[in-house]
């Protein structure tokens, strides 16, 4: 019987033949935490008598959620992480380096890897063919100590994408559309596997955007095949030697398939307070927006800022709408400066925040006021997510976000350009 990507990766890694529904214990190629989950991981690790990491060079502590720290308590949590890194010899990625998921994609993840992170958007690395999933602090502490974890091998929903995107419609619109279609729990416990001619032509940046949001449909992983595009991406990072091609078998068994003709998609928006509450941008015209946030692990890559800059070039943000730009990594910020996108965005009235999670999770750097609305390119619009339960979050592509920053209301980019 043929294998899905999830079955194939877990079989190869665990060196045993597994199928959906099986319980598998597998080595872990990377275990990581970030600064809001890591301190609990460190305490669980130390308080339960663990002393050594199974693989210090495959263990990374990222300081990205509160970077730089907005208060003394989080600063002290950062000290906990730095001290643990010093003591155990694991890798520390400090404030300013960028968001864990982007850094994992840029520097660490390879096709066929098993990656566990104490952050739900760990699924992002599925864009380069890694079985990457979010877990809690205790699970990651055990993975750090033993160098392995357990999984139930997930059933897979195959998402077959065909056709070419219309102008100003992007991968973000596709994933928002898919979540609207199958629901915020439409893939709970399952793998989402992306295939089809649209996927074959898709950049790694777009694959990362889609994989990043797999968890918003409840999925354990969002997997893409590893192909020539993946090889070129890794070659550009000097990591081509870690590349291996990876694809599902032609006779793999799927729980079901979802077919999407991407040429029929239009700019899509998730309305408050769930990601599956989707609508077309054009139907939300008139919805006033006090803040636009472009960036994060979902859409904070150079391609995203290129799109935003192309729309905002020579234009100004609406006077009632703040415009926040958060590059997902230091490398991306440097690219923004080099390409001139940073200057274009600054001239349009944007604030550029340090590389990291920025305003996405409500800690700092753009907390919303009562009854304010934000249009964000992030992945989550739950009540209170951006720091105030009395505010409203809409999710969209960088193009829709940039267009809306100009008009001060939710706008279909095709109507602004």
């Amino acid at each position: 019987m043929g294998k899905t990507l999830a079955e194939k990766i877990l079989s190869l890694k665990a060196k045993t033949d597994v199928n959906s529904g099986d319980i598998v214990i597998t080595p872990v190629d990377l275990a990581f935490v970030q600064d809001t989950t890591g301190p609990l991981t460190v305490r669980e690790f130390l308080n339960n008598g663990f002393e050594k990491l199974a693989n210090p060079d495959k263990t990374v502590l990222f300081i990205d959620h509160a970077a730089p720290s907005p208060n003394s308590q989080l600063s002290t949590d950062h000290i906990t992480l730095r001290d643990f890194a010093n003591k155990t010899g694991c890798v520390l990625s400090d404030a300013g380096d960028g968001v864990c998921h982007q850094l994992v994609a840029e520097n660490i993840a390879a096709p066929g890897d098993v990656i566990v992170g104490a952050d739900s958007h760990t699924v992002t690395a599925g864009g380069i063919g890694a079985f990457a999933t979010g877990m809690g602090s205790s699970d990651v502490a055990v993975a750090m100590a033993l160098g392995k974890t357990w999984f139930r091998v997930p059933e897979t929903i195959k998402v077959v994408c065909s056709g070419t995107f219309q102008k100003h419609v992007y991968a973000k619109d596709l994933i928002l559309h898919l979540i609207g279609l199958i629901g915020a729990d439409g893939a709970t416990y399952k793998a989402l596997e992306f295939a089809g001619d649209t996927v074959d032509k898709m950049t790694i940046g777009d694959r990362l955007t889609i994989a990043n949001m797999a968890v918003e449909a409840g999925a354990k992983v969002g997997l893409f095949p590893a192909d020539e595009t993946t090889r070129q991406y890794m070659k550009a990072q000097g990591r081509e030697h870690l590349y291996q091609p990876l694809s599902a078998d032609a006779d793999a068994v799927y729980e079901r398939s979802v077919n999407i003709d991407v040429s029929s998609l239009e700019p899509t928006v998730s309305k408050p307070h769930t990601v599956d509450n989707t609508a077309l941008a054009k139907d939300l015209k008139g919805t006033k927006i006090q803040q636009v946030a472009i960036g994060t692990c979902t859409n904070g890559r150079i391609e995203d800022f290129e799109i935003a800059a192309s729309i905002l070039k020579g234009k100004k943000r609406h006077p009632s709408t703040r415009l926040l730009i958060t590059p997902a990594s230091r490398t991306i910020l440097k690219q923004m400066i080099k390409t001139g996108y940073a200057e274009i965005l600054l001239d349009a009235g944007a604030m550029i925040l340090p590389p990291g999670c920025g305003s996405c999770l409500g800690l700092h750097q753009g907390v919303l006021g009562d009854n304010e609305a934000c249009l964000s390119t992030a992945n989550r619009n739950f009540k209170g997510r951006m720091g105030n339960p009395n505010s409203f979050i809409y999710l969209a592509s960088p193009a829709t976000a940039a267009a809306s920053a100009i008009t001060g209301q939710i706008s279909d980019p095709r109507e602004v350009l």
Binding site: T37, D185, G362
Partner: protein
């Protein structure tokens, strides 16, 4: 297990349970626990008593991987979470913290009902309306962790995964 049902709706996220804006309290768990489920029901923390049940709808616990979510629910004295369905990471985290999550038809339970749960028999008795509900069997791998009171006690006992 016996206690009162605190009923919540569908899609109770980890931000409802422990909002990101309180991330600075995550290393001060007793203080964080005072805010449990604050954005779903600000009165919950002051009303919940030892043994009570959190009763959700569909997709309970969606969102973040923050283990603090089941942790503060447990710290509030809640003996189990009952829901029609539960998000994957929350489910695993809850079991890792020794907090049972029981999947059942929570439409048959009203807010404030007195419940009795027999984990071994797989039975929930709503003593207020007389309904008897069954719940989905917790998978064996997770049951073995729950049986030890959570992942850390499990690993301490066995030194490895025994699955």
């Amino acid at each position: 297990m016996q206690g009162k049902a605190f009923k919540f709706g569908d899609n109770i996220s980890t931000d409802h349970i422990v909002p990101g804006r309180l991330a600075h309290l995550r290393s001060n768990l007793p203080e964080l626990a005072k805010h449990v489920l604050e954005d779903a029901d600000p009165t919950f923390a002051s009303r919940v008593k030892e043994g009570d049940f959190v009763v959700g709808g569909n997709n309970f616990g969606l969102g973040s991987s923050r283990e603090h979510a089941p942790l503060v629910i447990k710290m509030a004295g809640v003996s189990a979470v009952l829901a029609k369905s539960v998000a994957r990471i929350f489910f695993r985290n809850a079991i890792n913290r020794g907090l049972p999550v029981l999947i059942c038809d929570t439409d048959k339970i009203n807010d404030g009902d007195e419940l009795e749960v027999d984990l071994k028999q797989g039975l929930i008795i709503d003593k207020t309306n007389g309904n008897r509900l069954t719940f989905n069997k917790i998978p064996d791998a997770m049951l073995s962790i729950l049986h030890e009171g959570g992942l850390m006690p499990y690993i301490k006992k066995y030194g490895d995964f025994q699955m």
